[in-house]
Symmetry: C2
Subunit: 215 residues, 2 copies
Amino acid sequence: MKMKRAIQQQDKETRKKNILQSALDVFFNKGFKAAKMDEIASNANISKGTLYLYFSSKEQLFVELIQQIASPKVNQVEAMVNNDSTLEDKLNLFKQHAKNMLVDQQLPKLMKIIISDSGAFPELVTTYREMIVDRALKTMSQIIKRAQSNKECRQGDPIELAQLLVAPVIFSAIWRIVFEPSGATKINIDSLLALHINMLKQVLIVKDRVDEDAI
Amino acid sequence: MKMKRAIQQQDKETRKKNILQSALDVFFNKGFKAAKMDEIASNANISKGTLYLYFSSKEQLFVELIQQIASPKVNQVEAMVNNDSTLEDKLNLFKQHAKNMLVDQQLPKLMKIIISDSGAFPELVTTYREMIVDRALKTMSQIIKRAQSNKECRQGDPIELAQLLVAPVIFSAIWRIVFEPSGATKINIDSLLALHINMLKQVLIVKDRVDEDAI
DNA sequence: TTTTAATAACTGACTGGTCAGTTATTTAAT
DNA sequence: ATTAAATAACTGACCAGTCAGTTATTAAAA
């Protein structure tokens, strides 16, 4: 298949996007070592030579891929803390964000790549953790901390509570990405997240007990 | 280094165990494709040729490794349901088992290998899931189901409740295996599991309310 | 407008290194 | 002396990265 040439800067950026999308698929399916540059190129409808006009090496393509996908997610995660609704509202918002993330799959795929190649690219794991994981957990633990100082939330280490909040999302991501493709029964994301968040609300949220005190 | 010959059947089995242990390390660190048979052999203090006296191919070694490690864990998991203590006792037992698993690391390492090479070995994912994951989840959901019919546990889909019970264990496994080696703050397994199980007890376990009814 | 020179995008055959798997040889045990 | 365990040298398939050559596009000359 012949590809039209990318003359304009804009076309070049589109091409780069195509390559990165193709690379995401291939790295996701095969892992870094088993991924072939030929396959990445042909999935993007270009030759291997052209691929090397856009990325200087397999490793550079890999690293850039991680960063390109990760960076837009970062702020999105942190935006959650910057509004002053109740803890309950924030948990609902979290549920919504988590669902979108699981449906869209980009971040779960990235997570799988990171897990797979963590041995070969420890610096990349650090980057990913600092960019995404630590920030998300920190955000959630801040929300909890604030709610605790408002007496809106029960006591307990905010970091651990944040980890417990996030855990079922990670579980779902792995389930969908690893097990569902080879025949596992599908999880119902909505239902699982709803149950999780409801149970969490029940334990975390301190209710005003004015009525009962009045008995 | 020269290795003493394995003449006796018993020595051969010991050698096989050594190879499998070495293979676990290498496959865990590198993934299937990047793992070198030379490295697996030399870590087991034998030559590559000798390795091929025990395993006919890299893939066979890989598959056998998964099964060898997985099978002893299976019964161990299921044993939990076969005693008729209270739900609270069972949750405490679960906590203990989960902790041991996370400290010992074998199953988490296996999990990482499965995740990494799920694309290349879908049948293996199925095997692993049927042998370990489905059985563990089924066991836990049965426990919950029974407790529900005893009115010991609140209502809710037992499978989803089992997934929520297990999720923080998976989270911890990934954290320890992927993030801690590249500088993440260490999680306190005991403390996190204790918090998790306590919160779960609080939501799940239906308490006798005889005292309050008497008001 | 047509022709032609210059440029930049693109290609795929090739190279050099790597590694799974094989085999000829050595070594130890009986 | 015979058997079998172990080795290390070997082979060939594979693939990241290169580069000489091709083609589309633009620019300039006629």
